[in-house]
C-alpha cells in the first residue's frame, strides 16, 4: 500500500439555493482555491476525478460540462463516478496505488435545490418493483424508522434525541443549514 494524503481542500458556501451561477461557475473558484492551498501546479496533477449524479442536476452528462471548470487543455487524464466526492476520492486513491502519479484532484458537485429531491431519490431504488410506486424519500425514511423502532424496542423519543444532538452540534458548523 502506498500512503496517500489529502493536502488541501475547499468547498463552496453551503447555502439553501444558488439561483445565479451554474455548476461550472460554482466549481471554478473552489477548484482554484484547493489547488492554491496545496501549492500543486495544475500541470503536476496527474489525475482528475469528479463525483456527481445527473439526477440532482436534471441534465444528462452534466459531468462532461463540469470539465469546463477544470482547464482540460492540453488533454488531461480524468474520470467521473456516478455518486459523490467520497466515491471519486476512492477511485483516485486506487489509481494512485497502481499508476505512476503523485497528485490528483477530486471534486464533487450537485445541487439538490433544482429538483424535487424526495422524488429524485426514487431513482436509486430498484427500477422494476419499487420506483414505479414512487415512494418518496421521506416516506421511505419513516418506514425505516418504524422498522427500527419495532426491531430494537427503542422509542420515538430516543430517535428525537439523535436529531436534537445533531442540531446542537450543527450550531458550531458554519456549513450546516439546519441547526439549533
Amino acid at each position: 500500500m502506498r500512503d496517500v494524503a489529502i493536502v488541501s481542500f475547499a468547498q463552496s458556501p453551503s447555502i439553501r439555493r444558488e439561483p445565479a451561477r451554474n455548476d461550472v461557475e460554482m466549481l471554478m473558484p473552489v477548484i482554484a482555491e484547493a489547488l492554491e492551498r496545496s501549492k500543486v501546479k495544475r500541470d503536476r496533477v496527474g489525475f482528475w476525478c469528479s463525483g456527481s449524479t445527473d439526477f440532482l442536476t436534471g441534465q444528462p452528462f452534466s459531468f462532461v460540462g463540469a470539465l469546463d471548470a477544470v482547464g482540460a487543455w492540453p488533454p488531461i487524464s480524468e474520470s467521473h463516478v456516478e455518486m459523490d466526492g467520497a466515491w471519486a476520492l476512492y477511485e483516485a486513491w486506487i489509481r494512485m496505488q497502481h499508476e505512476n502519479l503523485d497528485a490528483a484532484v477530486v471534486y464533487a458537485f450537485g445541487r439538490s435545490s433544482l429538483g424535487p429531491v424526495p422524488d429524485v431519490m426514487c431513482m436509486q431504488l430498484d427500477p422494476y418493483v419499487l420506483t414505479p410506486l414512487w415512494p418518496d424519500a421521506v416516506s421511505l425514511a419513516a418506514l425505516q424508522a418504524r422498522a427500527y423502532l419495532e426491531a430494537s424496542g427503542k422509542t420515538e423519543r430516543d430517535l428525537a434525541e439523535v436529531a436534537i444532538r445533531n442540531r446542537r452540534n450543527a450550531k458550531a458548523n458554519p456549513n450546516a443549514q439546519v441547526k439549533g
Binding site: 444558488e18 439561483p19 445565479a20 451561477r21 451554474n22 461550472v24 461557475e25 471554478m28 477548484i31 482554484a32 495544475r42 439526477f55 442536476t57 436534471g58 441534465q59 460540462g65 470539465l67 469546463d68 471548470a69 477544470v70 482547464g71 482540460a72 487543455w73 435545490s113 433544482l114 429538483g115 424535487p116 422524488d119 429524485v120 431513482m123 427500477p127 422494476y128 420506483t131 414505479p132
Partner: protein, 166 residues
C-alpha cells in the same frame, strides 16, 4: 394454480417524470440579456483572452472565468454545415434547411444557427453570413430572437481564417 407455461415478462414500462429548474449561469445570462437587446455578446477569458460566444461562464481550456465583455458582431463565416432533410420533433422549420457552425467576427469559438434565404445547395464552407433578427419589439432573452442567418454577399473567407475552428 394452472400448470400452463407462463409467458415470460419481456418488457415493462415505468415512466419517469421529474421537473427541474435550469440555471443558465451568470455568463450565459449576460449573453441572453444582450440578445434581448439585439446584440451578441462575447465573454473573454481572464487568462488566455479567447472570446466565447455563447459564453458558459468559463474558458474550458484554462478552467478560468470569462468576465470581460468583448465586442462580437452579428456577422461571421460558415465553418461547417449540414443540410437537414428529415423532420425532428420540436424543430418547426421548413425542410430542407441548413444548420451551420458559424465563426462570428471577434469570437474564438463557433456557434450553431440556421441558414436561410439561400438555396441549400449554394451553402458552403467559408460563406459569409449575417444574423436576421426578429422585429425590435419581439426581442427576448432567447436565441430565437435571431430568426436565422443569411448570406451577406461578401467574397468567401479564406480557408486559413477559420481552419482552426473545424
Amino acid at each position: 394454480m394452472s400448470d400452463a407455461p407462463k409467458e415470460i415478462v419481456k418488457r415493462i414500462e415505468t415512466p419517469i417524470h421529474l421537473t427541474f429548474q435550469f440555471t443558465p449561469g451568470v455568463g450565459a445570462s449576460r449573453f441572453l440579456r444582450g440578445i434581448a437587446e439585439g446584440r451578441i455578446l462575447g465573454l473573454r477569458c481572464t487568462q488566455c483572452a479567447k472570446v466565447y460566444v455563447s459564453p458558459r461562464g468559463s474558458c474550458p481550456k484554462c478552467g478560468a472565468p470569462t468576465l470581460d465583455e468583448a465586442k462580437v458582431t452579428d456577422r461571421g463565416t460558415i465553418t461547417s454545415f449540414s443540410i437537414v432533410r428529415v423532420p425532428s420533433e420540436g424543430i418547426d422549420i421548413e425542410l430542407p434547411f441548413v444548420c451551420a457552425s458559424i465563426l462570428l467576427d471577434g469570437a474564438d469559438n463557433t456557434f450553431y444557427h440556421v441558414i436561410r434565404e439561400v438555396p441549400v445547395e449554394d451553402v458552403r464552407m467559408g460563406m459569409r453570413v449575417e444574423a436576421v433578427w426578429v422585429p425590435r419589439e419581439e426581442l427576448r432573452a432567447s436565441l430565437e430572437s435571431i430568426r436565422h442567418f443569411k448570406p451577406t454577399g461578401e467574397p468567401d473567407a479564406p480557408f486559413d481564417s477559420y481552419k482552426e475552428h473545424l
